[in-house]
Structures are given as C-alpha cells and as structure tokens.
Symmetry: C2
Subunit: 203 residues, 2 copies
Amino acid sequence: MTDATTATTAAPAAKPLSQREELIPVLAEIFRAHGYEGASLARITEGSGLGKGSLYYLFPGGKDEMANAVLSHIDGWFQREVFIPLRESGEGEDAMAGIDHMFREVKRYFLSGRKVCLIGVFALVNVRDRFADKVKDYFVDWAAALNDALLRSGRDVDDAAGWTEEILAGIQGALVLARAIDDPAVFVRTLDRLQQRLQATGA
Amino acid sequence: MTDATTATTAAPAAKPLSQREELIPVLAEIFRAHGYEGASLARITEGSGLGKGSLYYLFPGGKDEMANAVLSHIDGWFQREVFIPLRESGEGEDAMAGIDHMFREVKRYFLSGRKVCLIGVFALVNVRDRFADKVKDYFVDWAAALNDALLRSGRDVDDAAGWTEEILAGIQGALVLARAIDDPAVFVRTLDRLQQRLQATGA
DNA sequence: GTCTATAAAGCGATAGAC
DNA sequence: GTCTATCGCTTTATAGAC
C-alpha cells in the first residue's frame, strides 16, 4: 500500500498520543508545584527529560503556550468528567446523583487533597491576568453546571446560588488549608461535610 | 500590682517606626501580587522607591528575610486583632461575639475580597517549604483560637472542629474564587453566609 | 543610609548541527 | 525531532563611592 503510516489497524483506542499530549501532565505538575514564574525552563527540561530545543519545537510559543495547553487540558478533563455529567444529570434524585458524582471525581482528581488546583494557583497572583479568560471560565462553567443541577434537584434560585458559591469556595479553600498545614485529610473531611450537609438540607 | 506594664511614657503612640517597619506593608503587597518567585528585586525597588543597596542594608538576608519579615508582620496583626480577641472572648454569647468580631476584622483585612491572603499564596506552591513553619502556624493558631471559642460558645467537640475547618477553608476559598472570577462580592457573601449559618445552628 | 556599578548566575528564547 | 551552543536580558547579591 502507498500509505502505511496511518494504517491504524483494527484497534479502537489506539491513539498515537503525540509527545505534546504526553508532555502536558508533566508540565501541569511543574506549573502546579512552582507557579508560572517559578516554573523555569531548567525545571521543565529536568522534569520532562527534553532539551530546550525540543520544548520549543513542541511549543513554539514557549512557556505561555505550555501553560495555555495545560489549562486547556484541565478544562477538557473537568468538562468531560464533571461539568457535562453535571449538566446531563436529570431532575430530582438524578440531579443529586450528578452532584455526588462531582464530589467523587473532585476528590479523585485532587488525589484526596495531595494535589492543588493549578487554576487556583494562577488565580491568586498577577499572572492571572495573562490567563484571565481561562481562569474565569473554569469557575464560571463549573458554577453554572452546579447551579443548574441544584435547581433541578429542587432548590430555589437563592438557595442554589448560595450552595454553588459555598461548594466551590469550600473545595478551593480546603485545598489551600490542606496544603498549608500539610494534612490532606482536611480536604476530604471538608468535602464530605459539604456533601452531607447538602443532602441533609435537601429537597 | 497596677498595670504599669503599658505605662512606658506619657506619649501613647509616639513610635519612631523604622524604615524597615514602614517598608513591610509595601513588600507585603508585592509578594501578594506576584508570589515569592515573581517578586523580583526590580519590582521591589520600583515599588519601594529604594535602591538595591538600601534594601540589602535593611534586609541583609535579601528576599528571604523580606518575606519572613512580612509573614511575621501578618502573624502579628492576626494575633493582635483576631486570635487574641478570639481566645479572650468569654463563654456563651461572649464567645459568639468574639467570632462575630473575627468575621468583621477578616472582611476588613482582606478589603472585602479585593486583597488575597499571602499565606495562601505561599501555601499553594513549593516555596511553602521555605516558610513551612510560619505558614502552618498561621492556620494552626487560627484554628486553635476559633475552635476554642466555638467550644466556649456551647458546641460539642466534633461540631466545633467541623466548623473550624469549614470557616477557615471557606475564607481561603472565597478569596481564591473572588479573585478568579474577578468579583470581590463573592467573598463577602460567602463570609456572611457562613456567619449566618453558624448563628442559625448555634447553641 | 542610599546610591551606582558590577559580579555571577539564571532566565526565556533562538540558531543551527545532526 | 532532539540536541548543544549561545544570545540578550534579568536575576540575586555584593562592593564601594558618597
């Protein structure tokens, strides 16, 4: 045959997964650990095992493009695993099941409090302005999906809006607190308490 | 014994206030805005109006000493304005008054959500390790003072511990969220909701 | 006590060999 | 596609004039 390079055989999930895609979780961890300004190219070359030349080949836009790729990757994950399930959960009990699923996935994503939120890391300092749209959209999308599910679960408008803010703030704050006192268990306890209290006052 | 401890001289508030002390709020703002790694000496010289020579004269230990001085200053403020009043509030209603005072001062300190928490900024990234003790002590001291006041207000041990974590996480998360979506009002709403719910379920 | 000059290292980014 | 070498600039920190 003339073109064997794209002969993907019969395997269904045989995605090539470019080096660029494979690199993104590594980049994410470095940005998370050090922040944008602290994530030097030296740290990135060390963490990725790739030289600067390769990095600029994969990300011609440099650090800015790397961070944007990471943010898009995170957004994709949350859209797929949290926001869409939340939006597509049904009415009443089904909406509550979507919210339970959210708590479960969030605990899993943040490794039960051992991993911090990169969007939160970026949000707190002035690099936020560089990625303002993505930082804002992440929380706005999450808030919209959660608020809608709360409405479908039977809450009134004010109640849903209040819970939405409280849950999102609770998650972010629990991550900060857990890391500050170096006790990830605080994160899990705080989320469990939020979830339990939400159900206790449920419709 | 009369309280002669505070009767040092006739002048009540005539403190010279060294340049070092005067500089600390400026440094705090720069660290808050950019994080430790983003707070370059160029930004500090620009923000302070002092040359590098003067800065190293006032802080021979460089950036590390500046950040430590800022953290100590913040700790002093919270001890004086929040933790001690909290610890010295009495039983029952008086303890609740101490907690109300805490909410009021916290809202004032963070400029109703327009200013972020430097301890939180440091906590999220790996510079935390450099200042781990101060970062941890800030939250541990706060938690201890608040937990104790909650106990004195009539809560049982588990209830007080849960509320302590929930309030501290709520404050930190509200700061993250407010800044991420660029809406300081979220901070005030979240704190008001916490305070109101605390009173609604009070002893 | 504040400054400028400068050292020495690190930074992001680019060029070009292979 | 990955590398090394290097540019130009910024970084922290020091030295020394005033």
